[in-house]
Amino acid sequence: MPIEITMPRLSDTMEAGTVIKWNVKEGDSVKSGSVVAEIETDKATMEMQCFDDGRMAAILVEPGRQVKVGTPIALVALEGEDAARVKASGVRSSAPAPVNAAAPVAAAAPVAAVAPAVAAAKPAIIVQTETRHGMEGFPVESDDGPRMRVSPVARRMAQEHGISIDAVAGTGPAGRIIKRDVEQAIENKLAAKSASIAPAQALAVSTGGVQTNSSPLALALPGRNVALSGMRQTIARRLVESKSTIPHYQVTMKFDMDRLIDLRGSYNEKLKSSGVKLSVNDFLVRACALAMAEHPYFNASFAGDHVRLHEVVNIGVAISLPEEKGGGLVVGVIKDADHKSLRQISADTKNLAEKARTKGLSVQDMSDATFTISNLGMFGVEHFTAIINPPNSAILACGAAVQQPVVRGGQLVVGTQMQATLSLDHRVIDGAMAAQYLASLKEFIEEPETLVV
């Protein structure tokens, strides 16, 4: 294999070189280490040595010509090779070589073309960045008037609380809106809201004022923090208020459910064609509503120096929201429940639940409950207690109807029973009153036909 001598790189910065002079002619013998040419680099004129023994077969670049580093400039025939043949074949295959001096340039061209574009794009970004974060003491005015200054955390908090940043007055340097400005705006917003909505229509209405963001029990253990949603903050605030200001107590009773379940089954069979499906809860809503006629203090509010007995019976139903909707709990209200049929109650409840889980309940849907029912029976819970939804005076917590051994007429039989627990505001209702209310409920539930008429 003949040896191709290429334009050597003779300095760390050399890109191209010029053959100043060839010290050998074609046909001369050359030895490793012999200086065969003088090359002008970007820095100096240097000697070019040959690295192999043989005969100079072809000189491809004449003196005075500048070529890129790496371009073939001569061919050397090694021992046993025919110089003439090497020249003939080599010049042909290397023929483009001197001409090829252009090739590296062409190859480099796209790179060169791309590079300025990249370089140009970069400063543009930098300028933008600098404008956006204009430093203190370097007034930066954009075309559309003075720039609004907002600290990053203030901007984030405003977004999280749905507060329009334009409406917030900045008290920081040069009118910068800072964290405490947004905190003030959040407080104002909550105060305005609680003022515009009559007290206590739903859990998800803020009353403000109760500290909920302290975490006195936080443990210094590995874990992660989950920010409170607006609803979660409201629940926290309102239930702390309820549980800490209302003297709660609970009364529990068991109800035989066999007949109610039978009746529900037969109605649902009959009403199947019209798409009605009554739930146990629908019966309970109607029972609670009807019982109010005899027990007005269960449809009442404690009001400091008096107890307000409401004329309308609006039964609130606690609805849990799915996780993908952010979870939480709202109370949908079935208005005038004592005047509604089971079918109507069933339809209202379904509408509220559907709406709560899709687009969300309106303030109207959550307002003005006078009594609340919370039912975890569908989750298999047998017994629990609930926190009163202020300003109600009571809440009923219903468990599941379960089959269990019961004694009837001295006989042990299988019966279906449900436990229900009233949580009561002792300022309004005493224990005996609670027992009487439960007794009325028991009548309605164990003789469910009375609920239909």
Binding site: P8, L10, S11, D12, G33, F51, P222
Partner: protein
């Protein structure tokens, strides 16, 4: 302390290779040395070629003309004696036993280079062969070399009760003689009785500056060590047998007495300081005069005279060296470049702490505060 020791030269500058010394050495050893000389030269020639072909980057300093020093000095000491040198280091690496492949692949910046392509031409490290680098900053290796010798002495005196008695070879160029660190180092070596030999490869030029233009008393560099009580030797570095015999005697003396020494190793660099040096500061006549004194040719003549080799066996040696280096170049060409992940390794032995690889933390954000530690050297992780 041996400060009062009268400095003596173990040899005067020698005239020619001494045939009188030859009989004491087995022929196989002599042939091995000849092959090493040829291997280094062929390696350096192909380095120049590869540099010119842009296969090798950065700076590249070749050793052509000085081969007898690396071969002779290495032969004069034991394999376990540490060696450290400057940036003209390919010859020392090969003489110490680094393969041509590992050395060339390092030059090419490839993964199977001796330092995985992270060091380059000036930084040849070979721990198994006790080569503690190629170092790039002129003179910087002199305190390091003294430290290597300090460690060997400490091992004997504190850790092992005097078993090894190693001696360290610290090579430097005549330009490094004027660095401050070198004087501090000679003082420390003299003061602490450290068995280190400073071998000044005196090729007459620090880059383009002739020695008399940059160095006082340049006719005898041993004078530089005299104030620190170093043992002295002036050796003809173009004569392999002189290098071997004189260095062997000196090393054994330093080993025996746990004392430092300085060697003015007279030699000549046939090529430029680096690849971009046009050598305009000296004449072609001067170069030709020294080329006539080529250490390889000189050694070959001695071996031919004594019938250790013949023309044919020399040609065989040269062919085999050419083959070995050609293989190294081909291997390095085809060898893979280091993976991108290698950029971040070997920064710390113990990247423990929460940030593997370097002090620049990779922070993933979030409230997660769990941290894990890599267990190293019996250290356990904590969470």
């Amino acid at each position: 302390m041996t400060h009062s020791m009268a400095p003596t030269n173990t040899s005067s500058p020698t005239q020619t290779g001494g045939p009188r010394r030859l009989p004491s050495l087995p022929p196989a050893t002599l042939v091995k040395w000849l092959r090493e000389l040829h291997l280094i030269r062929e390696f350096e020639v192909r380095c120049m070629q590869s540099y010119q072909e842009k296969k090798i980057g950065g700076f590249c300093h070749v050793y052509i003309g000085q081969e007898a020093i690396a071969v002779g000095c290495t032969a004069a000491v034991r394999p376990e004696d540490p060696i450290v040198t400057a940036y003209r280091d390919h010859g020392h690496a090969l003489a110490r036993g680094m393969t041509a492949r590992a050395c060339m692949a390092e030059m090419f910046g490839k993964i199977d280079g001796c330092a995985k392509g992270k060091g380059g031409s000036m930084h040849m490290f070979d721990r198994p062969n006790n080569l503690y680098g190629g170092h790039g900053i002129v003179g910087a290796q002199t305190p390091l070399g003294t430290g290597l010798a300090f460690a060997t002495k400490y091992e004997d005196e504190v850790l092992n009760d005097g078993k090894n008695r190693r001696v360290t070879l610290c090579f430097l160029g005549d330009g490094a003689v004027n660095q401050g660190a070198f004087y501090e180092t000679m003082n420390l070596a003299g003061l602490f009785d450290i068995p280190v030999i400073f071998i000044v490869e005196n090729n007459g030029y620090s880059m383009g500056t002739a020695i008399n233009r940059g160095t006082t008393m340049s006719h005898d560099l041993c004078i530089k060590g005299r104030a620190h009580g170093l043992k002295e030797a002036t050796i003809d570095g173009m004569d392999l047998l002189a290098v071997y015999h004189d260095m062997h005697a000196l090393a054994e003396w330093c080993r025996e007495h746990s004392r430092p020494a300085i060697v003015d190793m007279k030699c000549y660099r046939y090529k430029g300081h680096s690849m971009s040096d046009p050598r305009k500061y000296r004449t072609r006549e001067e170069e030709e005069r020294h080329e006539a004194n080529d250490p390889i040719g000189k050694f070959e003549r001695v071996l031919l005279d004594h019938g250790v080799v013949n023309e044919g066996s020399i040609k065989e040696i040269m062919t085999s060296c050419r083959e070995e280096v050609r293989d190294a170049v081909q291997f390095s060409n085809e060898n893979a470049e280091p993976p991108m992940s290698d950029l971040y390794t070997d920064v710390f032995v113990e990247p423990w702490g929460r940030f593997p690889g370097s002090s620049q933390p990779t922070f993933t954000g979030g409230a997660d505060n769990v941290c894990t530690f890599r267990a190293t050297d019996g250290k356990e992780g904590l969470v």
